[in-house]
Each structure stands twice: as C-alpha cells, then as structure tokens.
C-alpha cells in the first residue's frame, strides 16, 4: 500500500501550489497513472479520500487517467502497447523490449477556487 506515501507526496505538491497560487479549495485533481507504474488506482482513490481530510483538497474529486504501457523493440524498432514488462515483441518475438511509456505518475492539473 505505497499509495499512502504517494498520496502524501501528492498532498505536499498540492499545498505547495496552493501557497504559490493563492487558492484555498481544490475541487478536482487530475492524475495520470501509467499502467506499468506499479500503482493500483483503487488503492490510490482510497488513499486520496483518507489523505485529503483536513487539507485544501478535502472533498475534491480524483480523476485518474490511466495511460498504456508502450515498448520499443530493439531488434526491429516496432513500438506497441504492452500490458506487462515482459511481453515479447508482437512483430518479431524479440525480448527484452525497452519500455518507453507507462511508468510515470503525474499530477496533470488541479481545479481550484
């Protein structure tokens, strides 16, 4: 359940932004999570509900946009979506492939007032 500590990092970023930007209430957080980031969106939602209590984001909606994992085959250069780290290249069967997307977790935007 490392989503709790990711949540704590998220709250730190939000509160830092609140000081810079002068907002007092966040109504929606849009978060992008790659499918290969090792994060469970359901656990993240739970952590969000618990972790935002008594903060500027209390009661805010959490919108999670999941992005696909992508891999590039070093042998034939094909790029294609993958569900796990260890999928062979669909075109030529080569392993390992280089993961080029889907490992990040990013706060995209905040709706604030």
């Amino acid at each position: 359940m490392h989503e709790m500590s990711l949540m704590a990092s998220m709250l730190e970023i939000i509160e830092e932004q609140a000081r810079l930007d002068g907002f007092h209430q966040v109504t929606r957080v849009t978060l992008e999570i790659g499918r290969l980031a090792g994060v469970d969106p359901e656990a993240m939602r739970f952590a969000f509900d618990v972790g935002t209590q008594d903060s500027v984001a209390e009661g805010a909606e959490l919108l999670i946009e999941e992005t696909e994992g992508w891999a590039r085959c070093p042998a034939c250069g094909q790029e294609a979506p993958v569900l796990v780290f260890y999928e062979p290249c669909a075109a030529c069967g080569q392993m390992p492939q280089e993961i080029v997307a889907g490992r990040t977790m990013t706060i995209l935007s905040l709706d604030v007032e």
């Binding site: 490392h2 730190e12 706060i107």
Partner: protein, 242 residues
Amino acid sequence: MCTTCGCEDHSHAPRANGEATGRLRRVSLERNLLEKNDAFAARNRRHFQERGILALNLVSSPGSGKTSLLVATLERLAGSHPVAVVEGDQQTSRDADRIRAAGAPAIQINTGKGCHLDAHGVEHAILDLAPGEGSLVFIENVGNLVCPAPFDLGENHKVVILSVTEGEDKPLKYPDMFAAADLMLLNKVDLLPYVEFDEEACLGFAKRVNPNLEVIRTSARSGEGLQAWIDWILTRSAALAR
C-alpha cells in the same frame, strides 16, 4: 463582435470567460509524484559517487532470510572492507541489533505504517553513519515485494532475494521488483531437497521478466554461494575506486 465566440450578442461574454461562474479555474501542473523522492535519491547517489561507495538496496518478501544472509556476508567482509548498514522495518530494532552484533555499524529506520524506505530517510541514516571512502553500504529494505520497487534510494543496484521456501512463480507475480533488480540471490538452497520448488522454472520466470538479471544461489546456513556473492560485490566496488 464578441471576441469569445464570434457572435453578435455580448450578453454571455462575462460567463464565457469564467467571471460569472465563480472563481473556479484550472491550474496545469505536470508534476511527477515521485519528484521529491527522486531528488533525494539523486543527492544520495552523488554522495555515494563522490566517495566511491557501493550502495546496494536489498529487497525481498518477509522471511526470505535477508538479515541472516547479510549477517553472514558481513562476517566474511569483517576487517577487510569498511561497511555500513541501513535497516528498514516497520517496528523494532531487532535487525540492527543483529547487524551490530556482527560488528558492522547500523542504523535502524522504523517506517511505522510505511511499507518501504524512501530516499529522504536513507539520506539521514547515511549522514549519521558517515561511511568512509570506498565503503560498502547495504540498505535492507522493508520486507515487501511490491512497495519498495518505485522508490529509488540512490543505490547502485537493487538486489532481490528469493528463497526456495517461497513459490517459484514469484517473479511473474511481482514483476516490478524483479524487473528493477540487477541481481537475484536464490536463497536457502540448502533446503531444496525438502521443499517442492522448481528451480529451473523459477529461473525461467525471472529471466522472462528481466533477461539481464544475474542469479547467484546462496545459503546463509551452509555458506554455499556466499563467496560468489562477495566476489560480485567486490568486483563492483573495485570498479568504483579510482
């Protein structure tokens, strides 16, 4: 003409630019949730690099024999190489006590409810331990095959320990950790005659997740493979020395 939408009616313009709907607005951020951890990790890595320190992040599920293996490793390194140990557990200082009893300086980080070490906690421990030039730093993470994977501590290598009393399919069940590691220690191999563990299948699964993963078979109890593991460490440490 209305500059908002090009129509001739100016009456809706205030609402269109947000004035009439309250002060709701959108702030674009594009900030990585791990940015703070990654910044501390980069600092730790620089600290290690400047001193020629080899730092290893030891990860496994609880009960894989990490601490026993580490104690046996430290006993073999005693006197010949400077070492320091960071111990991560949710509660108690029992592991750090075992390490100190083996003659190595150790700091225990209790993570409380936390299920992994983070780079900031490790930085404090390293500043307290102050390992010297060319030291070997072992960071024993909290026993957990999931949560420590995305948290860079600034280590040179993650070493995953899997014992033969666990399922041989663990690399497939917890691929993130096996994908992140450079070395797997297959531990407790002295128990192989007594357990149903398909070693060949296990190595196949591990290589499928991470084809570059190196594997050393070890037993803290019989001593099997410990020299190979120590050679692995010392080769990498020597490469850092200038």
